[in-house]
Each structure stands twice: as structure tokens, then as C-alpha cells.
Amino acid sequence: SQKIEQNSEALNIQEGKTATLTCNYTNYSPAYLQWYRQDPGRGPVFLLLIRENEKEKRKERLKVTFDTTLKQSLFHITASQPADSATYLCALDNGGATNKLIFGTGTLLAVQP
């Protein structure tokens, strides 16, 4: 069956360190993968999109990698700050004509000051 897995446990790190979040998928062949941030009581906010032919994408303190052989994406936040504390969701396209997104369950990141 199709599945998207993210770290189910919360990730606690110290301010200034690099946070690394994992997204693994099975039985999908996505053309692209996206990462979103979600704060409590709010909708997800788009962060980065990486396509299947891209290995790495960067945006300020964020970096995403995409390995279609391993079926895995890693999401890194460097020099993390308490304000980075949130739930981070990965999402795949379903390979169809629409931009229907299939989301993982999300990983809660807590950055301690």
C-alpha cells in the first residue's frame, strides 16, 4: 500500500543546532515533493518544493534533499531558533493531472533556547 512516513516522535533540539527531519515514502513515484510548516490552529504554510530531477534545494536557512532511489527526502533547518518550533509536513503529488497533495503525518519540532 502507499505510505508516507515522517518521524512520529517530536524532535527536540538546542537553539543554534541543525534540525533534520525525514520523510520516507513507499509505492509512490512523485514528480515533486513539498515541505510545509504548520503552527497550532493554523493552516499549513508552503516552504519549499523539490522536483524529482533535483537533488537539493536551498532557501535561506532551509535545505531539502530528494533521493528518488531511497524514496526519501531530508529537511534541514540550520542555526535553528525557538521560532522554528512547529509541525513540519512533507507532501507528495499523486502523479495525476491535478495538484492533489498526499501529506505525511508531520513531525513536531521543538527548539529549546
Binding site: F46, T98, K100
Partner: protein
């Protein structure tokens, strides 16, 4: 408006009642999506509109759920004969045209069915 808005922000209803949830997308966005998010889960796709037509309604769980977008802007998600299992946050998102365009999400409507 500046972003996607959804009303009401909270809705409490009794089992068996009918509810309507409204979404105002970003002006000019032709693509509109509805998702449902249960506690501790990621959003789950329900339906996608391109303009006025439902281009993909494969995520609607059953025939109690229906959505419309008559003028290609505002959309209403309608749930008949609500059940306790329908309790969740219903999220709406819009994008400029669809495809790989960024989806902008609203704050959601929290539906509680007693």
C-alpha cells in the same frame, strides 16, 4: 483579500444535522482544494476545483459530502447527516492555476459533531 479565509472558524453540531463550510480563496486563483485534517494527522485530500468544475472529487469519503463552486470563486463544502467521525479541521487551499503552483491554505474550520 490578502489570503484564504474560511468561515466559520468553529462549528459545533449534533449528529445527523447538516452543515455548510465556506471558503474564500485568494482573488484570481482558479484552483481550489478542500482537505480534512484529524488530530495528529496530515491533511487528507477531499476535492479539487478548477474554475467552477470539480476536476477531482476522489477524496470525498461518501455521498454525504458535497462541494460546490458556482462562480469559480467562493466554495462551499456541504455535509449531510453528520456523524461523530466527521469531526476534524476542514482546510481550504487555493493556487493560481493548479499543477505545481504553490497552494495557500486557509486557517481551517474546526467541526465538532456531538
Amino acid at each position: 483579500g490578502a489570503g484564504v479565509s474560511q468561515t466559520p472558524s468553529n462549528k459545533v453540531t449534533e449528529k445527523g444535522k447538516y452543515v455548510e463550510l465556506r471558503c474564500d480563496p485568494i482573488s484570481g486563483h482558479t484552483a481550489l482544494y478542500w482537505y480534512r485534517q484529524s488530530l495528529g494527522q496530515g491533511p487528507e485530500f477531499l476535492i479539487y476545483f478548477q474554475g467552477t468544475g470539480a476536476a477531482d472529487d476522489s477524496g470525498l469519503p461518501n455521498d454525504r459530502f458535497f462541494a460546490v463552486r458556482p462562480e469559480g470563486s467562493v466554495s462551499t463544502l456541504k455535509i449531510q447527516r453528520t456523524e461523530r467521525g466527521d469531526s476534524a479541521v476542514y482546510l481550504c487551499a487555493s493556487s493560481l492555476q493548479g499543477n505545481t503552483d504553490t497552494q495557500y491554505f486557509g486557517p481551517g474550520t474546526r467541526l465538532t459533531v456531538l
